[in-house]
Amino acid sequence: MSKLILLFLALIPLLCSSFSPETPSDRRVLVLLDDFALKSSHSLFFNSLKSRGFDLHFHLADDPKIALQRYGQYLFDALILFSPTIERFGGSVDAAAILDFVDSGHDLVVAADSNASDLIREIATECGVDFDEDPAALVVDHSGYAVSATEGDHTLIASDDFIKSDVILGSKKIEATLFYDFSHYMRQAPVLFQGIGHSLNPTNSLVLKVLSASPSAFSANPKSKVTTPPSLTGSSISLVSVIQARNNARILISGSLSMFSNRFFRSGVQKAGSPIKHEKSGNEQFLNELSKWVFHERGHLKAVNVQHHKVGEANEPAIYRINDNLEYSVEVYEWSGSAWEPYVADDVQVQFYMMSPYVLKTLSTDGKGRYFTSFKVPDVYGVFQFKVEYEKLGYTSLSLAKQIPVRPFRHNEYERFIPAAYPYYGAAFSMMAGFFVFTAVHLYSK
């Protein structure tokens, strides 16, 4: 019995290790499925998540017992919706509950598919992504399709139009080593995609196209003749998109559920018109790296230890005087999934701000996470702020503001005698001396 209690006590830290500012990676993930068969047909993706320490809870999407929160506390840190056809979630979950979940800073992965339900489309629309309205439409590409044994209808697309961002897709390029024509090629393996396309809402500035269709793609029903121009064409079709909300919640929206499947992970791929046959599609690496980003294993920044003081002093003053020279420093770290590591960049800037930035300086870094600079307080007094507003593609945004008042010179801090004014002093005193001399002369001249 005592052993059991000891074991329980030892487990408490593990049980409590949920999302927190100190360890921003997600831990508990709710996976909602249409069918438990997905658990085995998509097991490679789920196993990759499990091996990275995620605690996956599988439920059918219409399970009446599912709940995102209990007693006002969220039970999960992230939600994976692999249930494209669901019309109504079971339990208390609905579109509004899912959006509230995101609004409170949690992450979301949505995979739609052909015959995606209105519910999934509504959630996507709320996130700034509009799926093709035609329920029978698929993304078709007659020149960028993946070559397969059967000719098919060219809905299986091999796409390699990735977003150019190492933080979202990982610094290791999606690539395959090939021996072709006696020379050694490194070439990115395309990602297989079969599903519906979406467009990004132009008014939403937070949504990013991660994988886009080729210029020859279009979205239409592959079984019928295209009589009217398709509503979505070319590279404006997004296949996979991500959103980072202003509260740093991250959302992944894909138009294809099958791109997560073992079959696509393991399948070889040869893009039409390309002589290179890749042994393995880029799906596994692409989606694993993307899931690392979505679940905050990468690109999550924190800024700590903001310090400022006058040059030559160590303590932070309560007030600065105009024209003081000051030093400002801040430490920025990036979460690597297991530890905070120094963030190294050359574009972090600090503003000395009162209604508008009076000083804007790029901070220099020592490579160990510390960013510092020194500058002169402007010749303007008032209540200023040290501001760091750092928003970089793929990284969580940093927004620091620290208020500091700036006072003018005291009356005894001015120069007592100004060399340039000596003639004026001389004139004033010579007038006084002249007055004395004149008085004497005037009185005794009679």
Binding site: A420, P423, Y424, A427, M431, M432, G434, F438
Partner: protein
Amino acid sequence: MARSSSKDAQDLFRALWSAYAATPTNLKIIDLYVLFAVFTALIQVVYMALVGSFPFNSFLSGVLSCVGTAVLAVCLRIQVNKENKEFKDLAPERAFADFVLCNLVLHLVIMNFLG
């Protein structure tokens, strides 16, 4: 024509100078004092034009002390002039006392504004 006009001017100045020579000595002293003040003021204005108006308060007080001195001296001259009938009831001692008092006030203000 030009020669005759320059000759006229010479005659004019000579007449003016001979008329001025009749001025009592104490008034001549006051005139000298006024000239000294005005000349000092002009030097400062030229200096300000060369160096710039940076300690503007110092410039103002320097120039205004000269101008004030000149104005007060002119006032004294009007009051002690025997030929001026307007102030014939006012004793020259009283006029001088006024002049000294006003100068004290002027220089007090100038000293405050100079620094």
